[in-house]
Amino acid sequence: MNFKKKHFERRHLIELFIKTIMRIALIIVASSLGLILWTIISRGLPSLTWDMVTQIPKGGYYMGKEGGILNAIIGSIYLASGGTLIAIILSLPIALYLQAYAQDSKWGDYVRLSLDVLWGIPSIVYGAFGFALMISLGLRASLLAGIIALALVELPIMTRAMDEVIRRMPKDLEHAALALGSTKFEVALRVVTRQMLPGIITGILLAFGRGIGDAASVLFTAGYTDRIPTSLMNPTASLPLAVFFQLGSPYPEVRERGYAAALILTIIVLLVSFGSRWLASRLNKYTVK
C-alpha cells in the first residue's frame, strides 16, 4: 500500500487552487481593515489632544485654532442612543411577534420581506424622508428629528438581526414552557428573551454601530451646530458630519482633526462592541445550550 500523497493529481490541484483563492480573499479583507485603522490612527492620533474631546469649537477652530469636537461627540451619543432606544421599543415586539404568532406564515414572510427592503434603502433616503416629515410637522432640524431618522435607519437592521436570533430558539424549550400552560406571550417574554438575550444584545449593538456612524440620515434632520444640545428641539452636531466637514477644509490642521474625529468615532464603536460582548457573556449564564 502506498499512502504517499500524489501532489499533482487533479483533485489535489483543485484543492490547492481553491485554498489559495480563499487565503487571498482573507488577506485582502484583513489588510484593508488594518489599513483603515492605520490611516485613521496615524493621521488622527497626533491631533487627538485632550482639548479635542473636552472642548467645543472656539472662534478660530475651523481655521485650525483652539477648541474641540465635544459637541459632535455628545451629539452623536445622544442621537445614536435615542435612535437605538426607539428602535428597540419597536423592534423587540416585532421580532417576538414574528416568532410567537407569525412563524412560517405568509404574513410573517411579508413582514420579513419589507424589513429586508427597508434595510436596503440608502440612509440618505431616510434622511430625505425624515426631512419631509419634519417640514410637514413644522419641526426644524433638531436632535428629535435626527433621532427619528436614525431610528428608521436602525429599525430594519435591529429587527432582522433579532428575528434571525430568535428563530434559532430551540423548539424543545418553547414546548417545555407551553406544557406548563404558558401563553405564547409568556413564552416570548419570559423564556425566549431570556434564552436569546446575548443574541438580542448583539442585534441592538449592530444597529447602534450603524446608527452612530451614519452621516446621511442626520445631515438634514439634525443639522450641525457648535453648541451642545440642551433640549430635543435644538439642532445638534454629530461625529460623522464632523469628519465630513473637517476633511473638506482647506486648512491641513483641520483635515488632520477630521481623522482624529474618525478615530474617536471608531473608538466609541469599539468600546460599545467590546462592552456588549462582555455583557452578553455575563448574561449567558442561564441560557440553555
Partner: protein, 251 residues
C-alpha cells in the same frame, strides 16, 4: 372504573396520513396507565392529544373528542393554557428553562399566580423539589443555572416544575429514555409514589418498564388501539394475537 380521561372516536392526521384510527378509550383516575406498542404505532401521538400538543405540529387535523373530567378539551371555548395546567407533561428529554433552578420551579406558579408572596413561593419551591426527590441535592445551589444539573437531576427538576403547576394528570412521553439506569429508576419510583394523587399516563417502548409501572395498559399497533385493560390481565392473558406477539418480543 372511574375514568379521568375519555377518548371518543378520535382520529388524528398528519397531513393526509391517518395516525390514529378511531380511538375509544377510558383512562382510570389515580392509576398509572402505560401506552405501549412498536415505534410508529401512534402512542406518542395519542399522548399529545391529551394536552393539546398535537396541534403544535404543522398541518395536523383531529376529529373526535378527548374529555378530561367529562369536559371536551377540544371545544371551541376551551382555553388551551387551562388544559395544559391540568394536564402536565414530562418530556422525553429534560429541557430546563433558561433560568435558575429556583426559577424553573417557580415559573409555573408565577404564570398561574398560585402563590401570594415571596415566602409562599419559597415554601412552594421547596415542597415540589422535595416531592421530586431533588431538594437535598440542590438546596444550596438554587440560584445556579438549571443546566448545571446532570441530565437525571434535570428530569427530576422538570417533574418538580410540572407538579408546581398543580396538575391532576401527568403525561410522560418516554420520560426515562434519555436517562441512565439509576436516574430512570429514580423517576420510576417518583411516579409510583405520585400515583395516588395523580392520574399518570406513560408512553414507553420498553416492556420491562411497562410491567414495573402499569396498573392499566393500552396496546397500540399501526395507529389502532388493539387492546386495553388492567395490567395483570393484559400481561398474563392477552386476548389479542398481536398483543401476545408483542409481549413475546416477536416484533
Amino acid at each position: 372504573m372511574d375514568a379521568h380521561i375519555q377518548v371518543k372516536n378520535l382520529n388524528a392526521y398528519y397531513g393526509k396520513q391517518l395516525a390514529l384510527k378511531n380511538i375509544n378509550i377510558e383512562i382510570p383516575k389515580n392509576q398509572i396507565t402505560v401506552i405501549m406498542g412498536p415505534s410508529g404505532c401512534g402512542k406518542t401521538t395519542l399522548l399529545k392529544t391529551f394536552n393539546r400538543f398535537f396541534e403544535l405540529t404543522e398541518n395536523t387535523q383531529l376529529t373526535g373528542e378527548v374529555l378530561v373530567d367529562g369536559e371536551n378539551i377540544y371545544n371551541k371555548d376551551v382555553d388551551v393554557t387551562e388544559v395544559r395546567k391540568v394536564v402536565g407533561l414530562l418530556a422525553q428529554r429534560p429541557s430546563p428553562l433558561p433560568m435558575s433552578i429556583y426559577d424553573n420551579v417557580a415559573y409555573g406558579m408565577r404564570i398561574h399566580h398560585l402563590r401570594k408572596n415571596r415566602e409562599e413561593y419559597k415554601t412552594g419551591v421547596k415542597h415540589y423539589l422535595e416531592i421530586a426527590g431533588l431538594w437535598d441535592e440542590v438546596h444550596q445551589r438554587l440560584s445556579e443555572p438549571a443546566t448545571s444539573l446532570s441530565i437525571g437531576q434535570q428530569q427530576r427538576l422538570c417533574l418538580a416544575r410540572g407538579l408546581a403547576v398543580e396538575p391532576e394528570i401527568i403525561l410522560g412521553d418516554e420520560p426515562t429514555s434519555a436517562l441512565d439506569p439509576i436516574s430512570s429508576q429514580n423517576i420510576e419510583s417518583r411516579l409510583l409514589e405520585l400515583k395516588k394523587q395523580y392520574t399518570t399516563v406513560i408512553v414507553t417502548h420498553t416492556l420491562r418498564q411497562a410491567k414495573r409501572l402499569a396498573d392499566y395498559v393500552i396496546f397500540m399497533y399501526l395507529g389502532e388501539l388493539i387492546e386495553a385493560g388492567p395490567a395483570k390481565e393484559v400481561f398474563s392473558n392477552p386476548k389479542h394475537e398481536r398483543t401476545k406477539q408483542y409481549l413475546e418480543g416477536l416484533f
